[in-house]
């Protein structure tokens, strides 16, 4: 079609070589990593250091340096920089994963010692702190009830606040709300606990109860829900709102039927992360729920227990049996949060906008 164009002499960029050049083999990163770890251990043993962290540090440093040196020699300086960046990313990844895995490993291995059906279905009623036996049922029940009440209080308020901020706000009031939400995010949990203690328990004269703890947890949860929901609502394209408004759909229905369904996956994840955050709170529970060895299914009357509080109490006792119970309860707590997270992810995936044909 276009001989004229093809025949025309074209000015080309001068190239110094061909497109291919010397490359390290594909397995080289693994080989370097293995070599570095071996060298790290070797140096550590030779120098008589006992800390495995030191061995790891040496191995990481060797890994980055060797990668750089080898790549410079074989591939050139640009690829060397590229590889150093890649290896740094890997080192950081490992540094982040090692504590996580070791935490999970220690909790699981120590927690499994006493964790069984008996442990999950019995309370500490009549069990002396120092002796073995007893269980976590009362604490698990308390945690579930308190977290559920806190979520019922905080999630709707947080959701509606976020809807106000994104869909209606814009003036001074919205700025003030945003500011106070930010301040609330930074409230230490003990302060939230003291606030409820001062108002609910001391001023109004109520005794300790799961509900009091749940209120403090709700205070901690609300800003997290507001923040995450706000971000999710901002991600909903304005075009969808306009499309809906242009069909003559009122604003409130647009928000209810178009904006919220589009963002529901992210909102669910945000709420679940907030739930996960408050599930592990100890301080307000210590002040307000008080802790008990007995099963108290009524969150509105009398002291309850909760998992983090249980862990704290058992660890404070300090006998072998109690510490084993503390580990097992910690494992139950982690599993509880993880199951919530999985449920949240499931809901997010199920509700996310579908793009298939």
């Amino acid at each position: 079609m276009s001989h004229a164009i093809q025949d025309r002499p074209v000015a080309t960029v001068k190239r110094t070589g061909s497109l291919s050049s010397a490359r390290l083999p594909r397995w080289s990163p693994i080989a370097i990593a293995a070599g570095s770890i071996a060298a790290g251990i070797g140096i550590g043993v030779a120098a008589g250091w006992h800390s495995k962290i030191q061995w790891g540090m040496i191995a990481a440093l060797l890994f980055v340096l060797t990668t750089y040196a080898l790549t410079t020699k074989v591939e050139g300086s640009r690829q060397a920089k590229d590889n150093v960046a890649t290896s740094l990313v890997w080192v950081c990844f490992v540094l982040a994963v090692v504590p996580l895995v070791s935490l999970a490993w220690v909790t699981i291995s120590k927690g499994m010692e006493v964790l069984d059906v008996y442990f999950l279905t019995h309370s500490m009623n009549g069990v002396l702190d120092a002796e073995a036996g007893g269980g976590v049922y009362h604490a698990l029940l308390g945690t579930i009830e308190q977290v559920a009440i806190a979520t019922v209080i905080a999630a709707p308020i947080g959701l509606l606040t976020a809807v106000y901020l994104v869909e209606y706000g814009g003036g001074k009031l919205a700025q003030a709300v945003t500011f106070f939400v930010d301040v609330m995010t930074g409230i230490p949990s003990i302060v939230a606990g003291l606030f409820i203690l001062a108002t609910w328990n001391l001023m109004l004269g109520f005794g300790p109860s799961g509900f009091a703890g749940a209120m403090a947890l709700a205070i901690l949860m609300m800003p997290v829900v507001v923040r995450s929901t706000e971000e999710m609502l901002k991600l909903v394209p304005n075009e969808l709102r306009e499309a809906s408004l242009a069909l003559g759909i009122p604003k409130w229905r647009t928000i209810l039927k178009v904006v919220l369904p589009t963002a529901i996956g992210g909102i669910t994840t945000g709420v679940m992360l907030a739930v996960a955050r408050i599930t592990g709170e100890t301080a307000p529970v210590l002040l307000l729920v008080f802790g008990t060895k007995l099963i108290n299914p009524n969150p509105f009357e009398g002291a309850q227990s909760s998992l983090p509080l249980y862990v704290y109490e058992q660890y404070a006792v300090g006998t072998d049996a109690a510490v084993s119970r503390a580990w097992a309860a910690a494992l139950v707590l982690i599993a509880f949060v993880m199951i919530l997270n999985l449920v949240a992810r499931g809901i997010a995936r199920w509700k996310a906008p579908k793009t298939g044909r």
């Binding site: 075009e239 969808l240 306009e242 499309a243 809906s244 178009v258 906008p353 579908k354």
Partner: protein
């Protein structure tokens, strides 16, 4: 039930910035009126004032009168929601609701506005999709998500969604600018059919398109960047493209602009 639009002395603002200045024009029922002009001259802003979508933009404000037959859209007791039910709109980028199926997208305007029986909905959805020349392509997958369609199909889905609520006027803001020539042709054919039933106003950057689809053409221009846009002239499309009465129009159309 197409209606005549009569605009007089209309200015629109974004905060303190005046975007269009003192526009008066008449849009005839059962015809296609095209708006052409350089970017930033206020065509889209003006279009959005015709169904009170302009005030959705933060700081958006309008002065003047828009008469739809004998009702002022900016009268004191007028509900913008009711206006938008009467004056529908199709946007530049296809924007089907991602959480809804093809059927639900078309039914959205009806369902979210009131109660309809399933059989009624089926009927209206089929009629609207046929009206948008999309029925044959999607009739077997009405329950699949609307976002799975191609760009041109999505835009026709949006047109079906807009005509499902039976508006009197249909506003189109560059409906073909994100589409390939074949989809564009499909939508232009569709516009030709739709003008039997609706009053259509279309903003376009494509002058051939304006010449092909419209009965009357309005040329907008702005004196300089930051100045408000103005209506230069409105006339029969044939006259605008062959013998415009203003020199600026001729310059713009023949490419001697700026």
């Amino acid at each position: 039930m197409a209606k005549r639009i009569d605009v007089s002395g209309l200015s629109a603002y974004y905060g303190a910035h005046k975007a269009i200045d003192d526009i008066s024009m008449t849009v005839e029922p059962r015809s296609v009126t095209a708006f052409i002009g350089p970017s930033g001259c206020g065509k889209s802003t003006f279009l959005r004032t015709l169904n009170r979508m302009h005030e959705v933009t933060p700081g958006g404000r309008v002065e003047g009168k828009v008469m739809l037959d004998d009702e002022n859209l900016y009268g004191t007791n007028v509900d913008p929601v009711a206006v938008r039910r009467t004056v529908g709109m199709v946007f530049q980028r296809p924007n089907p609701f991602p959480t809804m199926s093809i059927f639900d997208n078309v039914a959205a305007g009806l369902r979210l506005n009131g109660k309809y029986k399933k059989s009624q909905l089926n009927e209206i959805v089929e009629k609207s999709l046929k009206g948008a020349n999309l029925w044959n392509e999607v009739k077997d997958r009405l329950n699949k998500p609307g976002s799975g369609l191609s760009g041109g199909q999505q835009q026709r889905l949006c047109i079906a969604r807009a005509i499902a609520v039976e508006p009197d006027v249909l506003l189109m803001d560059e409906p073909c600018s994100a589409l390939d020539p074949i989809s564009t042709l499909a939508i232009e054919d569709l516009i030709g059919e739709l003008k039997e039933r609706f009053t259509i106003v279309i903003v376009t950057h494509n002058m051939q398109q304006a010449a092909r689809v419209s009965d009357r053409t309005a040329f907008f221009n702005l004196a300089a960047v930051g100045q408000p846009g103005k209506l230069i002239e409105l006339d029969d499309t044939e006259r605008i493209f062959s013998n415009p009465s203003v020199q600026a129009t001729e310059d713009y159309i023949s490419g001697r602009f700026g």
